[in-house]
């Protein structure tokens, strides 16, 4: 069970590679998980081909939510908006490399939910964005 907090998760939580704010940005979105107070904001800029040129996150919360955001943004630069729309729950779980119960799954998937709501240009992030 201690495997839960794989070194990479603690390390990314303490020393994130993609923490920051982009002003100006092309896409931004933020949301929180009211049950535990996790909060994530993601800012993206796009190049002329519509690919992500920069991606950063900001926020606070548990190690799982913050590390999940940082690991997710590793994979985002260079992707098109459509490629981001195609990202699934399993992609995040593969990045984290751990098994999660239903409560912690919400923490882990919050960054993906925020990212997808942002690229879809939605007013509100919905759980259906990260299901399946």
């Amino acid at each position: 069970m201690d495997d839960f907090y794989r070194e990479v998760i603690i390390d990314r939580y303490k020393n994130p590679l993609h923490r920051g704010v982009l002003e100006p940005h092309d896409i931004t979105f933020e949301d929180e998980n009211p049950l535990c107070g996790d909060h994530i904001r993601i800012d993206l800029t796009l190049d002329e081909q519509g690919r992500v040129s920069k991606a950063v996150f900001n926020g606070h919360g548990c190690a799982i939510s913050q590390a999940s955001a940082d690991l997710l943004l590793d994979t985002v630069v260079g992707k098109t908006v459509d490629e981001i729309k195609a990202l699934q729950k399993q992609d995040v779980l593969d990045l984290l490399g751990i098994e999660l119960g239903p409560v912690r799954l919400k923490c882990a998937l919050l960054p993906l939910k925020v990212l997808k709501a942002g690229v879809y240009g939605l007013g509100e992030a919905d759980d259906s964005l990260v299901e399946g």
Binding site: F4, Y13, C36, G37, H60, C62, I64, C107
Partner: protein, 409 residues
Amino acid sequence: MLDVDRIRADFPILSREVRPGIPLIYLDSAATSQKPTVVIQSMDEFYRRQNANIHRGLHTLAEEATAAYEEARARVAAFIGSPDARQVIFTRNTTEAINLVAQTWGRANLKAGDVIILTEMEHHSNLVPWQMLAAEKSLRLEFIPINMDGRLDLEEYLRLLDLKPKLVAFTHMSNVLGTITPAKEIISQAHRAGAIALVDGAQAVPHFPVNVQELEADFLAFSAHKMCGPTGIGALYGRRDLLESMPPFLGGGDMIKRVYLRNFTPNEVPHKFEAGTPAIAEAVGFGAAVDYLSAVGMEAIAEHEQMVTSYAMERLEEIPSLHLLGPTSADHKGGVVSFSLEDIHPHDVAQILDSSGIAIRAGHHCAMPLHEKYGLPASSRASFYLYNRVDEVDRLVEGIYKVKRMFGA
């Protein structure tokens, strides 16, 4: 002194392992308590021997089931010093009991501009029902503030009473801070100002002696599942004249005396408030739970919890960067310790403790406004009951050091 080892033997779940070789250390009784064998058996026995629907049946089983249900009511009533068993209404839980008062007494007696006084340390169950009623009737909600040491500011309360409130509704013990509120004093001042008083006893009734006559409470709400009883049943005690004058709550079977096609006449108290088939086996379990607690002794339970809590506070305070919420001493404090661990989210704390078999709560504990007051999104909470030993506190402290090591803090 409680013989804790003997008590633990009464609770079968306490001997289970969470994972092979890792025993359960259950420090989450403020969320729900564990159940002794006598309670589990009483419900099992009811289903094996007496199960029938109550109140209308004429056969033997129906009579026995009715007697068992009403006997349980009498035991629960006696447990809180109710002068009459009929003043105890079975509900689903504390939340439903408070909603019952809001939707019946509140709707019938409150009008636009009326003031309700609550406190800043209420559980959502004693907050949201009043917010809903306030929105419907344009009522004004006022709040007794909490001091930074987690106690109510009673001077401010006296000033709020100048607003001539109709109702003061407050918790007898905070589920986050553990603060035990001076209920008798709050109630007598409410009465002097012409208000009635509702006590949220969800955390108090399971943990120390609570007597409605001594308190002069007008309403007291509590849940069986936090006091060794089953889930799905709770109780509302009410002052006789108030219950008599209140309109019914839910409509349906058992709450009526006579039904016509276009109208009905309500049944007598308490049945007026118990529509439909109630949780009968659970009522029997509730009765067994109060018998069990009475046999152990509520004074002894309170004393034991105070001892464990004092020890826990002492040990936790030694941990660098750990911050305890609420009262700084265990006086007038129940068996709850909530804390924050600098920079480490409560979910991470709870998850890592779980790997050592330690069950604590992480989150806002259904008290979001209270956490906002302390500037925290969430906290970690350990809570104790009659079956907890001081060496379980030692395991908790070791577990917290493990969390700190993993996070390099």
